[in-house]
Amino acid sequence: MLAGMRNRFSRRTETSGDPFVDALRGALSPERVKFDGAHRSLHSHDASVFDGGNSGPVVYPETTAEVQAVVRLANDYDRNVVPRGAGTGLAGGAIPLGAPVVVAVTRMNAVLEIDPINMVAWVEPGVINLDLTKHLQPFGFHFAPDPSSQQVCTIGGNVANNSGGPHCLAYGVTNAHVVALEVVLPSGDVVMLGGLEAEPQGLDLRGVFVGSEGTLGITTRVAVRLTKNRPEVRTLLLSFATVSDAANTVSGVIAAGIVPAAMEVMDQRITQAVENYVGAGYPLDAAAVLLAEVDGLADGVDIDADRIAEIGRANGATAVRLAESDQERALLWKGRKTAFGAIAQIAPDYYLHDTVVPRSALAGVLEEIYAIADRHDLLIMNVFHAGDGNLHPLIIFDARHEGVLDRVHAAGADIITASLDAGGVLSGEHGIGVEKQQYMERMFSADDLDHQNRLRQGFDPGCRTNPGKVIPSGHSCADIQSLRAVPNEVWG
């Protein structure tokens, strides 16, 4: 395989007159096909901690027909393709392996139509998540998934990663908000997956495309579900003397049959960092805070807010504060949403993990995570989507210290083990990408993975779209070793 790859690539020259690049320039306009070192280097990474891959030409299509032309040319020239949005992925999903053409859809960023009769909006994949919600606000709607990266990440990336956010607790993650998808298949054919009708015919290919991390094709148009804005919102900030008390409050709320719009927990180190950064009004002396929000109609939100406060107090809450104004609520959320920005200010390097555990196991697993930090002599902070058990341990380190990366990875492995041992799963929203491929065998048997690979090959029999992701090596479409080994000289 390795030798084969070398042969395939060695025929190519590194001049800008590469026939593939020329063909791409003919299909798009020349200035939307970038081949210089700076562009390729920029597009060989995403927001994850992983080493960059090796990007081929970077193209900026503006229409579905142009995406189709790129995919067809890639087939003609025997090249791979990697779709890319804003590059904020944290699992390495957009890292190009095997010098593929990188299809950056950021210029396809129009909100095409708002259709209140069918309760959908048609958007292009490069639309930024928060821009979509801002666009819908005047009509009384929003797009429910609200990842913390929503100021930059794209709808196409949200679809590919089945992204979540604080408010997905009650409203569901991206899959629940995608009704139909126009997709350029790896063959170059354009299809509509799903549809606006109640129960589209045949297999739910829309459902499997969402969350497939760019391996099943490139989405070029998305019908997203409109969610009506809620007339009433109550936002509570509960303080606790221990992280366990906060976690037990969360599982207590769910056990009481309340599904709030959001339940987010931040530990003391995070709240202190956030306070210094944006002054959100968080208490500095609490070991943990719980940000809980309920929305709906006036009476119901008051009842639920009271019950959450009661459950908090029963679990040892030292203070319960109800946001008195929209400004206060916005500030509380600003703190949560800029948590990673706050850390980036103070930490030389950080690694954000993402696992899910049953909600009743939250307190125990968190204790274990702090013990893991001690064991590996690392600093770990926790800020997470507590309501659905989605942990985000954040390891802070300085990569210049010798041996620290090994400890970071060893701690990461321990966090994954602790989560799986508690009945949890590998990832709640960041995906597998290249980050967790090696752990997939912890969650799935060889037969299970073989079936996932069969689905992948149903869409992409030639393993051409985003190869080397999700499924661990040993299965076809996943031979990362050889993809990584594409010699650097190939593309200059």
Partner: protein, 314 residues
Amino acid sequence: MTDSTTSPLLVSTDPVLAEFAEDVGTSEPVAVAGGRTRWELGGALGPGTRIVTAPSGIVDYQPEEMTVRVRAGTSVAELHDELAAKGQRTGLPERGGTIGGALVVGENDYRCLGRGRLRETLLQVRYVSAEGLMVNSGGPTVKNVSGFDLPRLMVGSLGTLGLIAEVILRTNPIPAVSRWFCAAGADPGAVGEALLAPSAVLADGQQTWVELEGHGADVDEQAARLRTVGSFEVVDGPPSFPPHRWSLTPGQALEVDDAMLGDHVTIVGVGLVFASEPQPRRSIEPNIAIVSDRIKSNFDPTGRLNPGRNPAQK
């Protein structure tokens, strides 16, 4: 570098499931019979197909997690009885069928606006493959993006890709109050607009029915709003439905041709219509058929699983 043994919590050791896999075996055509309430859907079963039944029983119900692990042959009604005792329910339709049947048939409950869509109910699935192997996919938690989403593929697959043995489903709290209302001559579109989140809005051209759920005071508030668009009265429940199911866009469903559908009840905002006349067969895009056929042959190379049925011809 990492220990590559699969987490013991994710491997099934249930002898009942192993027995089912053995029943399914490794060769010859085979299909599962559930409640036979949708038996002929998607085409007649190929001749000579061996019929097996999926195991039944509720294995592990965790109300405080809002999840339940249940074997596929369990009836939806039995599951819902058990959940109701703890104040919970699921998005599965309850019309005499089994859990496995409901999932592979893939039809939503007509109250899906309030209960969630069927496809969002399934968190984890264990199924027997065409090779007779027990395959696991998805996961036990309410949020999960670990690998390809095979549970989505199984919902609506009519048992043509794998025979479902056991699943983990998401449950939802039953609201404090559920109440039906009905009015003659109310505009269903206006009703939808007036309300925040009704659990169901139904219309038959003459009358409009609405199910409101939630805290009592919220239901009263929404009922008051409802009365601004029609003279709604409390009723016991929805009307009875004509037998045939039409799948349309919500917009199309508001403007159906009475001559084509005959008597009908429209599920407003969803696009489902129950009608006395059947829906003409819908076509499927050729390029989608290519992908679907390839998936089918990758999962079931010899075509032994539920032969004769086609999910594209439901």
